[in-house]
């Protein structure tokens, strides 16, 4: 009798080892009742209320309790994941789902701290627009460790009421600065948006754009970036406070724009203008615009750490975030306005039309320019700080 | 000459001191006696100008033909000695004494000289650099008398200054105080509850 019990338990253990759910239904079953901790940047009230809606939907339709952990910076969660790894915590981690892109993803992926290959298995992956850079982040392959959530593009914001003609290229920007000295600026790197602004200038000014697809080579770095530094040397004296200091965040610049201290602000969300106008943080004559050649664009993702506790729940949430219903609501400028990563052509007709209809009202659309390789961020920041980081 | 006219001190409409009248001439010691809580210390605090806000007072204080009760403490030129020696702990003995010297003494050497002389007078020569916290109770008491008198006050108040000292010390200290006071020839008001403290041939008022 005892031998039988032993044999049976061994068989049961053997089965449970192989019982990894690969199909969607069993994943949903597993997810039911789980609590998913979604660590996301909490600085935008529009994003926060959108996520509150998502939490409601998850509870109602999937039985998953979604708890949003609002962070000031994704690095707060990254460091936690790294601490857990160094303490040997291989499961039951504190972060189930993380809103991330770029440098942070790079860091975690290289350290092997992310769950791989799950994003492509999700049912809603078939709707994703493959023309967008959804399989790579900062020119690095994702290996299915990230599920795309939305699309971002660097845009400039200005107030049309001031009657000025918005610059549509780098030389025009310089001329604009000459015509309106002390009224322009950009966020100080290493602020994410500030660095992106510098990258944007680099993309349009460099004589060797193909070098940006690869990591920066110390031998050619100077050559590739020379036009950028020349440009900035001319631009800075014309900036706000003579280029001796820079606003710390794009949010601060929005305020300065609203108060007329600056004529332009920058943002990564093209619909940010609509949000701000809605919340009466900007006058209704504000517009988002960009260079005619195109503006830097990227996709932002959600990722699941390898040691996440509620892995099934996290995947179900990620799938929902990619669903047409959630993406349509997200793209609505009155709610958030974040551009979708879905291809409306792959959706059934009414949904596809609905998706297309969600366009930011106060925006002049411009082409997407792909982002440089992830390593350029660090290199550019370092060089910028070295040249302009002190008075 | 110190004159108190019709002093009445009340708190919460209960009068502590009622229509007190007296005159003390130079070199004379007036003793105020009474049980604890009779208002003796409160009365002294009125004379010195530090009466707490909860008391109301009527009456006049005259010293050497000048009205003093309308002046702030620092202009009354009346010295006071409390039960505790109240030497300033952050200053040494010499600095404690130097603090009292009037502005008329200009130079540092002169002030130093005054201090040394006073200390010698009290058989405390060489104590100038000592830390007050290291002194015995009797030494501290003597220095606080010296300090009060170095300021050349026009009158001196003593608020039970002997009660913290033992019998033998008390006697010595008493003699020391009367001797110092005699040298200065100023009116003195003494508050005590011990009959032995009363100097010979002085006025006594019992509250």
């Amino acid at each position: 009798m005892r031998l039988l019990t032993l044999l049976l338990s061994l068989v049961a253990i053997g089965f449970s080892c192989f019982a990894q759910p690969t199909d969607w239904d069993s994943l949903r079953q597993q997810a039911k009742g789980q609590t998913v901790y979604f660590n996301a940047w909490g600085g935008d009230p529009a994003v926060n209320s959108y996520l509150d809606w998502v939490a409601g939907e998850m509870k109602q339709h999937y039985g998953v309790t979604l708890k949003v952990v609002r962070l000031a910076d994704a690095a707060d969660a990254v460091k936690r994941i790294q601490s857990e790894d160094s303490a040997g915590r291989k499961d039951n981690g504190s972060v189930d789902l993380l809103w991330v892109n770029g440098e942070n993803f790079h860091t975690l992926k290289q350290a092997g701290l992310l769950k791989d290959g799950w994003a492509w298995e999700l049912p809603n992956w078939r709707y994703v627009d493959q023309k967008k850079p959804v399989r790579e982040d900062f020119s690095q392959p994702t290996d299915g460790a990230e599920a795309p959530w939305g699309s971002a593009q660097l845009m400039l914001i200005g107030n049309a009421q001031t009657g000025v003609k918005f610059p549509r290229s780098a030389p025009e920007l310089l001329a604009f600065a000459k015509a309106h000295p002390g009224k322009l600026s950009y966020p100080r790197p290493p602020d994410f948006t500030g660095t992106a602004f510098i990258e944007q200038l680099l993309i349009v000014l460099t004589r060797e754009p193909q070098a940006l697809r690869l990591p920066p080579d110390p031998a050619t770095f100077k050559q590739v970036t020379a036009p950028l530094w020349d440009y900035l040397d001319q631009l800075h004296p014309l900036l706000w406070r003579g280029g001796k200091t820079f606003p710390p965040t794009p949010a601060r610049m929005d305020r300065m724009l609203a108060d007329g201290e600056l004529l332009m602000s920058v943002t990564f969300n093209p619909a940010h203008v609509d949000n701000l106008i809605d919340r009466k943080q900007l006058p209704h004559t504000a517009r988002a615009f960009g260079f005619a050649q195109g503006m830097l664009g990227n996709v932002h993702f959600v990722t699941i750490p390898a040691n996440a506790r509620a892995q099934a729940g996290a995947q179900v949430v990620a799938n929902f975030l990619m669903s047409p219903q959630a993406q349509i609501r997200k793209a609505n400028p009155a709610i958030w306005g974040d551009t979708t990563i879905l291809d409306s052509a792959t959706l059934p007709a009414p949904l596809g039309e609905q998706l297309n209809a969600q366009k930011p009202a106060h925006l002049q659309a411009v082409p997407y320019l792909p982002e440089p390789h992830a390593a350029w961020v660090n290199a550019l920041e370092k060089e910028w700080l070295q040249r302009y980081g002190a008075k | 000459m110190l004159c108190v006219q019709d002093c009445t001190i009340t708190r919460n409409s209960r009068s502590l001191i009622h229509a007190l009248n007296f005159t003390v001439s130079a070199g004379e010691v007036l003793t105020l006696m009474g049980p604890s809580g009779a208002g003796k210390s409160t009365f002294l605090s009125w004379i010195i100008g530090a009466l707490p806000a909860e008391f109301t007072v009527t009456g006049e204080l005259w010293l050497n033909q000048q009205r003093r009760d309308t002046l702030p403490t620092e202009r009354r030129n009346i010295g006071i000695l409390f039960q505790d020696a109240l030497l300033f702990d952050h200053l040494n003995v010499g600095q404690n004494l130097a603090m009292a010297i009037p502005a008329a003494v200009k130079s540092r050497e002169q002030r130093q000289h005054c201090v040394e002389q006073a200390l010698e007078n009290a058989q405390l020569a060489g104590f100038s650099r000592r830390d007050p916290a290291t002194l015995s109770g009797g030494e501290r008491a003597r220095i606080s008398v010296l300090r009060a008198l170095l300021a050349k006050p026009e009158a001196l108040l003593l608020d039970e200054p002997f009660s913290r000292l033992d019998q033998t010390l008390r006697e010595q200290f008493r003699q020391f105080v009367w001797q110092q006071v005699e040298q200065q020839a100023i009116p003195v008001v003494l508050v005590t509850h011990d009959p032995q403290d009363i100097p010979p041939d002085g006025q006594i008022i019992t509250l």
């Binding site: 935008d44 794009p250 | 530090a50 009346i78 702990d89």
Partner: protein, 522 residues
């Protein structure tokens, strides 16, 4: 179980993460390439200048303000009236005050709209220094009010006055020398805070380059390990800077002692009470104005330069405000402050005062390495994400502040009272409970209020030890402050202020109640 063992055990439990944190910080100091990278970086010299500037203004300013107000108003009804305002002034968290201050004094701020005056606040850390000077002066005043023995000092003051010295002279020669040593720990905390503050520096401070603390924080948050090491090294250098300030303070104290002992015999009747009253009024007015700014912003819709009042009013922000974090915050703060009280009582009774400086270390070190060390320990013990873990992690910051409030008062207990109690045959425990604690009721209540506020203000410990499970008003505020919505920020700042304000009022009232029936406790 002996009291000493308990004391060391309690303190050991709370301060255990210090050691790994310190080791983590000390490692880069041994690597010469990090020193080289630091030297090569062109930001640190400007950052050092900005840091020194803001710290000197903050410390000197707060001390001067504290002394002027103290000398001008103490004792008497005016002082009591002013001291009654201190809970409001202290309860306003630094970040909230800084936001309000910015709304008031920025280039497009309210004052500029009202009368056209504009200061470039962020040049050289001036605005930061001034704000900290204001806020810390209230802290110093409050510590002073809980430390002083009214009886002895007023008699000493009377003696000095009877020697002919005017009000200001008396106070400088008599009061200040006995006050300053009692403020020693509080001043240390002020210097440490000014050197290491990050969130206020981001709001008000210089930006290009930022202060050393912000620079270190940016580097510590970076993905590049070399930058992280540079951040650790900079934090270590900040501790070194603190050491320099301590030495400087000691020298200045000696100079002051010498000067105070020299008497030229000159007496003058200078009375700074009118100056102190008006200064106090201006300072309180600034605080209330900053608060008013926050209140208006929390309900404003469409407020652009140069309008003096918003275009429209909306309560939607308040209606949508989440109040559930308040409950979590309250529970955490109550648990941390009471546990902290227990720990400091054990340490005050059973511990060695010589080690107090080590216990004050969390005040000077950056939070991130310590928090990472704590998180590691919790992970190993499988206690992350739970209430005990978060409370334990808060204690590392709550206990030092509570200690610095309670230690001076503990040292002032008359040993003869203890000896008398021993002659009754009372055990150590009984003496603590029946003699020492009632005597120190007011300072301990003050310590409780401080510990409560410190717990509320914690962001990184709540986030890490709580593994993101705990949402407090501070985590909300910090997350929102990384964005830009002034309305939301104002609402969160006001919510953040609510709990400490109530706690300070409660402790003040309880203290008053105790003092009403026992004058000796006043």
């Amino acid at each position: 179980m002996s009291l000493r063992f308990l004391a060391w055990f309690a303190v050991g439990c709370v301060f255990a993460p210090l050691l790994p944190g310190l080791l983590m910080m000390a490692k880069p100091a041994l690597m010469p390439e990090i020193w080289q990278a630091l030297w090569a970086d062109n930001q640190w010299s400007g950052a050092l200048l900005a840091t020194l500037n803001s710290t000197v203004i903050s410390v000197a300013g707060s001390l001067v303000l504290c002394l002027v107000l103290f000398c001008g108003l103490w004792p008497g009804a005016r002082w009591r009236r002013y001291a009654a305002q201190l809970p409001l002034l202290l309860a306003l968290p630094h970040v909230a005050f800084a936001s309000g201050f910015l709304f008031l004094f920025a280039d497009n701020g309210w004052l500029t709209r009202l009368c056209g005056i504009s200061f470039h606040l962020d040049e050289y850390g001036m605005g930061l220094g001034i704000l900290l000077a204001l806020k810390e002066s209230w802290f110093l005043l409050w510590i002073a009010s809980t430390q002083l023995n009214y009886q002895t000092l007023s008699q000493q003051l009377t003696v000095a006055r009877s020697l002919g010295y005017g009000p200001l002279q008396c106070r400088i020669r008599v009061l200040v020398p006995s006050l300053l040593p009692r403020l020693k720990w509080a001043l240390l905390a002020v210097v440490a805070y000014s050197l290491s503050v990050v969130d206020v520096s981001i709001i008000l401070g210089p930006n290009n380059p930022p202060t050393l603390a912000v620079l270190a924080w940016q580097w510590l948050n970076d993905a590049d390990p070399q930058r992280v090491a540079m951040g650790m090294l900079t934090s270590l250098l900040l501790v070194g800077l603190l050491g320099c300030f301590i030495v400087l303070g000691w020298i200045l104290w000696r100079v002051f002692r010498r000067a105070v002992g020299r008497f030229s015999g000159q007496r003058h009747l200078l009375n700074i009470q009118p100056l102190a009253s008006s200064l106090g009024l201006v300072m309180t007015a600034t605080c209330i104005a900053a608060l008013a700014m926050l209140v208006i912003w929390s309900m404003a819709e469409g407020w652009f330069y140069p309008a003096i009042l918003p275009d429209g009013w909306a309560f939607s922000g308040w209606q949508a405000a989440e109040l559930s974090p308040l409950g979590t915050t309250l529970l955490l703060a109550l648990a941390s402050s009471f546990t902290g009280l227990l720990v400091i009582i054990l340490w005050l009774e059973g511990g060695n005062p010589r080690f107090d400086l080590w216990l004050a270390l969390p005040l000077f070190l950056p939070a991130l390495p310590l928090v990472a060390g704590q998180y590691r320990m919790l992970l190993i013990l499988q206690q992350d994400g739970g209430w005990p873990g978060v409370i334990w992690s808060h204690l590392l910051w709550v206990v030092p502040y509570m200690l610095l409030v309670a230690r001076p008062a503990w040292q002032q207990i008359d040993p003869r009272l203890v000896i008398t109690a021993r002659t009754f045959g009372w055990s150590s425990w009984k003496i603590v409970c029946l003699v020492k604690l009632p005597l120190l009721a007011r300072p301990l209540l003050a310590a409780l209020a401080v510990g409560f506020s410190v717990s509320i203000a914690q962001y990184l410990p709540t986030l890490y030890a709580g593994a993101g499970r705990f949402t407090t008003v501070t985590t909300q505020t910090v997350a929102l402050s990384s964005g830009g919505d002034p309305q939301q920020q104002a609402i969160q700042a006001l919510l953040q202020m609510l709990l400490p304000f109530i706690m300070f009022i409660i402790t003040l009232q309880v203290g008053r109640l105790l003092g009403r029936f026992r004058q000796g406790l006043r």
